[in-house]
Symmetry: C2
């Protein structure tokens, strides 16, 4: 086994989820991530936990969604719920053999399945949970990189001293905490988001690994302006490019995409919450030094921000409910600014405490 896989598994078990004796640990693993699941089972066992690996492959999901009657797609899987309820820790391993495997599945069926699984998702979020990834060939391909180069980028972002990095992330979160509004300014973008009373959460490698961001949930109402998303996103298995979103009083009232319009439309129609922001995040992980078209990595990239439509995380005090949580990432480089109550805290991608500011 690649020693990095074992090291990764140990970070998940200790830093991210603090596994200890007696923990029931449910490991959800996509195809291609089996080696990390196997390594995690060993780490869980060593710490006295009970592992259960659930295999969730995109081709199986596709077969299910293409062949099951709508009534079945809309029904909650009771055994999945039972296993989730009985678990203390949930680790989800993103991997995959083809990132476009779901591209020919009816979006209505995908939406229905997301709704069927909504309570199960809530149960998961009430546990100690960690979303991580295994750098498969398909993910390297998506990033436009060789597998070796992609693995190097990935492990540069994951196998780091999380204790030291966590302190820096907490410093940034503290700077935003207590503010009334955050404003993003750059080419094609001027967006004001009210955040009064919200919490800025330092994401330090617990719920997401890798992580390295400070995030919050804007208020349900009051977000105004336009944001241009320059990095591509994968929405419902389809590529979305050059998305511009315009908000009025918190809701998307106008939008345009150079590519992937159908997916954006389906996303926005999921429910009312899908048209409101659930998250504003500030990426800080400089191990991720270029976009990989992988949201888990790209949203953490140093010098980026991301906005999510849909479900807000409760730990921010967020109130937006939705069956979806779709992130979009934007680079904040040359000419960009982040303002907190009018003060510039990041300019051209550099934070106030950095020499290059």
């Amino acid at each position: 086994m690649d020693p990095r896989v074992k090291e990764h598994a140990a970070i998940v078990a200790d830093w991210s989820t603090s596994i200890e004796a007696g923990d029931q640990v449910l490991i959800e693993c996509q195809e291609g991530g089996e080696v990390l699941a196997e390594a995690l089972v060993g780490e869980v066992g060593e710490r006295g936990g009970q592992p259960l690996v659930v295999f969730t492959s995109a081709s199986a999901s596709r077969a299910f969604l293409k062949r099951a009657p709508a009534k079945t797609v809309e029904a909650e899987p009771l055994h999945v719920r039972a296993a989730m309820e009985e678990s203390d820790v949930i680790v989800h391993i993103r991997a995959g053999a083809n990132t476009r495997e779901m591209s020919d599945v009816d979006p209505a069926m995908r939406k229905a399945r997301r709704k069927a699984n909504e309570e199960i998702r809530e149960i998961r979020l009430s546990k100690r949970w960690c979303l991580t990834m295994h750098p498969t060939q398909a993910l390297a391909q998506e990033a436009g990189m060789s597998t070796e180069a992609f693995q190097e980028l990935y492990y540069d972002a994951v196998l780091i001293d999380w204790e030291t990095f966590a302190k820096e992330i907490e410093k940034v979160a503290d700077r935003f905490e207590g503010a009334d509004e955050v404003r993003l300014v750059s080419k094609d973008t001027d967006l004001v988001m009210p955040v009064t009373g919200r919490t800025f959460v330092p994401s330090i490698g617990d719920h997401n690994l890798p992580s390295g961001e400070a995030f919050t949930a804007p208020l349900l109402e009051g977000t105004e302006g336009t944001v241009h998303i320059d990095l591509p996103a994968i929405v419902e298995g389809q590529e979305v490019h050059g998305l511009t979103l315009t908000f009025e009083d918190g809701e998307v009232t106008d939008w345009d995409a150079e590519k992937g319009e159908g997916a954006v439309e389906s996303l926005l129609e999921t429910d009312e919450g899908a048209r409101r922001l659930g998250e504003l995040g500030i990426g800080m992980n400089r191990g991720i030094d270029k976009p990989t078209r992988n949201i888990l990595l790209d949203e953490k990239m140093g010098g980026t921000i991301h906005l999510a439509l849909g479900r807000a995380y409760k730990e921010c005090g967020g109130e937006n409910h939705s069956a979806v949580h779709q992130d979009f990432i934007k680079t904040m480089d040359e000419g960009s600014k982040i303002l907190v109550d009018g003060d510039t805290v990041q300019r051209d991608g550099a934070f106030w405490y950095e020499e290059s500011f």
Copy 2:
């Protein structure tokens, strides 16, 4: 996807487990069997069932058993139990990437884990359940065959007209039903097993796929004589060759093995039930035309019988309790006889109703 995989999955869903709308279906899948699991997910969905795939790889089990403290190995995984309880149908897919993966695991740990899972096994047996297999390269290697040849043998045994074959198996079960004793005679073997009041179950591809056997559970007491097992068996990951078992009043009182003595010793010491017969089976599937060192196939081979030490199946009226159920297979060819209350019902591998008898 190999069309045979899809056909196999459809037989599991229809013939073996009669999946219908609303069924919660738990699919346990060993590594290398993912493609069959994926096919099954589609079949389950098509019939209105909810699939959940649990991934059980030997290398993960090995890592767990080598690294977990004894207390953890001895504890029941509560989330596994919860998922099992909530399921209507359990399909277990045997596969694997290395049949000897468990060969360097402490047998005491394996035994402890079996005990920890004993109630979960009972729950599984109370559901509609099917044990099947996916013909991986490792299983072909174990059989001493090319992957292609092994797949051909496998699908010859699986992709058949189960309705017609079931009638033949039922005829054989009926011939044994109501008997007081079954006697096996061949070179090095003369074993008498009392079966008064027991049921002979026709195994027609429901609980095992492939199947093709009639089986019962001998009485707890009264089995007398010696049986020589000429085919190799894998016991606790180790190969056992040339096993001879001697029974007195139902219990193994003497034994000898040319190879794998340690594994046999550990097996017999599991508990009291491990020293008594839990099963006598008559193999009838002529699609399996040579031994493959795979118990699921070999025990169904036309012209063989098998005996299991340990747990008896309740549907036979069996009373033996144990944490193990270990099968051993013996060929009944030239010079062999099976007698039912003194009447020869099989001679040189041919049944009474066959022309070659």
